[in-house]
Symmetry: C2
Subunit: 326 residues, 2 copies
């Protein structure tokens, strides 16, 4: 009998979540550890693997587990290494997949979180049956996973799909981005970007708005205000949607996807944000693509999505190319 | 014995060139007909195929020809059709590959000219041995062929890789592009785009320049002036290179290519254009790609490149996916 389970790891700067997943995409059991508690990568892997084995025990042990998939910042699919991740405790190049394989006795594949989300979307979510789509993750940052002919695009070096760091504003007036550049779409469409846009639009507006009294503004605050008829809130979504939609049009010209799938907190604002994105997308594509490319919201469950996406890397480990030497 | 030859067709709005090619990439014999002379596609195909058979006769006849590859405006690789090409005499959807196959008795594959150039570059040119690169064709328009994992990206509908129609200037100040949009990089980096930039820069400059007296300006005129020490000519290349390099940086974030390969007349201006492109590219990529992505000039011979590129589609016709229904 085929081994019926895979393990998924969602590694972040503050926490690492992990769980066991069945072939239907159910996260059957999960747990977490605090990433910064382990300044030595070996200690981190020891604890993480011990915890994952405990979970596997409840499902018949490791002989029922096909492999481990991990989504990690700066995770390189080709080498299995985490490379120079600014928000993790381990500096330089960490051979993460190898460390996990040694401890777990099954293959491990890693990639970044947005690629993991795209694989998850294709395996269990809104992109089931699609061969060509782009997943855009809207969170603390803006990430992307590009799928062409049913496969994630990793590129020459393993780091393809950094669409959050394409430019929507060129020159000094572009907003400073965390990556060191200016004018990246991440600086406008991430959670921080929306908060900054909100602040700027409120300051430049004389209109009444309930948002003016807030210290920090989230997209959910803007959503609630928009629902209550707040004009300034609508302006914030219109601005954000226009910036993002314009870049999505560029992405369409690249890979002519069947759909662009948006994932993350911002999409919870529903039509307030989706309509301006869709308008800017269709206003900025060539005639042949106008109203042809589907704009969808992810159907992955938020709480499980990252574990699920990561775990789905592990299903066809054998079918994938062997890892390159780091 | 394997059939040793392929036929290549380079279809344009004014002329159609075609020739027979050996496995080393030599165009052994070629000829041409005038595209607008045949308002009926069947007449066009009759004459084209009769001419190609004549050429094949000199090399042992059609039993020595493996297949036919064609580069055509709006050529759809998946369906084998030319779809709504504005600059060709035949309107609507033309099942070109089928019409050629019927007459020639061998498989025919089509794509657009930029994709054909990319396949040619990979088979015979600067991209030999590369699995991930982007070919940018700089001519009357700006085209692109994107290669990922050794394969051209066709996308969901067969029309991926329209990088000439991604935007470098958003809003009403963007230049009108032939595609109907504003601000596309094609409107700045095509031959017409360079001529327009030249005109604008000369009009806004009080500097002495030999270019001021010219009625129409080509990139070769600008090149000659730059070589002679003309400051305005250098400004024109700096402006054009900056616009193009900024967009190339976006493309790198998409597919993380090993190289970007430039093809066409503009590249003849050597370091005058290549240095500003390279500077803008490296100024606008994420740190991880700075000075890592090769910027190369095509090594395909201009006169033969289009026939060569198109013909290379025909080498592994059997290995490729069957055509979809139109």
């Amino acid at each position: 009998m085929e081994k019926p389970y895979v393990l998924g790891i969602d590694m972040g700067g503050t926490g690492t979540k992990f769980g066991i997943v069945d072939a239907r995409g159910n996260v059957l059991q999960s747990s977490s550890i605090k990433t910064p508690d382990y300044p030595d990568i070996n200690d981190y892997c020891d604890v993480l693997c011990a915890e994952m084995k405990k979970i596997a025990e409840a499902f018949g042990g490791m002989q029922n587990v096909r492999g481990v998939g991990a989504g990690a910042p700066n995770g390189n699919y080709y080498t299995g290494c985490i490379e120079n991740a600014p928000n993790l405790p381990w500096k330089g190049i960490v051979p993460f997949a190898k460390l996990i394989q040694e401890r777990m006795g099954v293959p491990c594949r890693i990639t970044n979180d947005a690629n993991a989300a795209a694989v998850g979307e294709m395996t269990y979510g809104a992109a089931r049956g699609m061969k060509n789509f782009i997943e855009i993750t809207l969170g603390t940052g803006v990430g992307s996973g590009i799928v062409i002919d049913g496969k994630i695009v990793y590129g020459h070096d393993g780091f393809a799909g950094e669409l959050g760091h394409t430019k929507i504003v060129h020159g000094p007036e572009g907003r400073q981005c965390g990556c060191g550049q200016r004018g990246c779409i991440e600086a406008y469409a991430s959670a921080t970007g929306v908060a900054r846009s909100a602040k700027e639009i409120i300051e430049n507006s004389t209109k009444e708005t309930s948002l003016r009294k807030l210290e920090t503004i989230t997209s959910f605050d803007v959503f609630k205000a928009a629902e209550a008829g707040d004009e300034v809130a609508k302006e914030i979504f219109d601005f954000t949607g226009e910036m993002l939609g314009k870049k999505l049009a560029d992405f369409v010209a690249f890979s002519a996807p069947e759909a662009i799938i948006l994932f993350g907190g911002l999409t919870k604002s529903g039509h307030w944000i989706m309509e301006p994105i869709e308008k800017a997308l269709n206003d900025n594509v060539m005639p042949l693509w106008k109203n042809k490319v589907k704009l969808l919201v992810s159907t992955l469950k938020d709480s499980d999505a990252a574990i699920l996406g990561a775990s789905s890397l592990a299903w066809d480990v054998q079918a994938q190319a062997p890892m390159r030497e780091a």
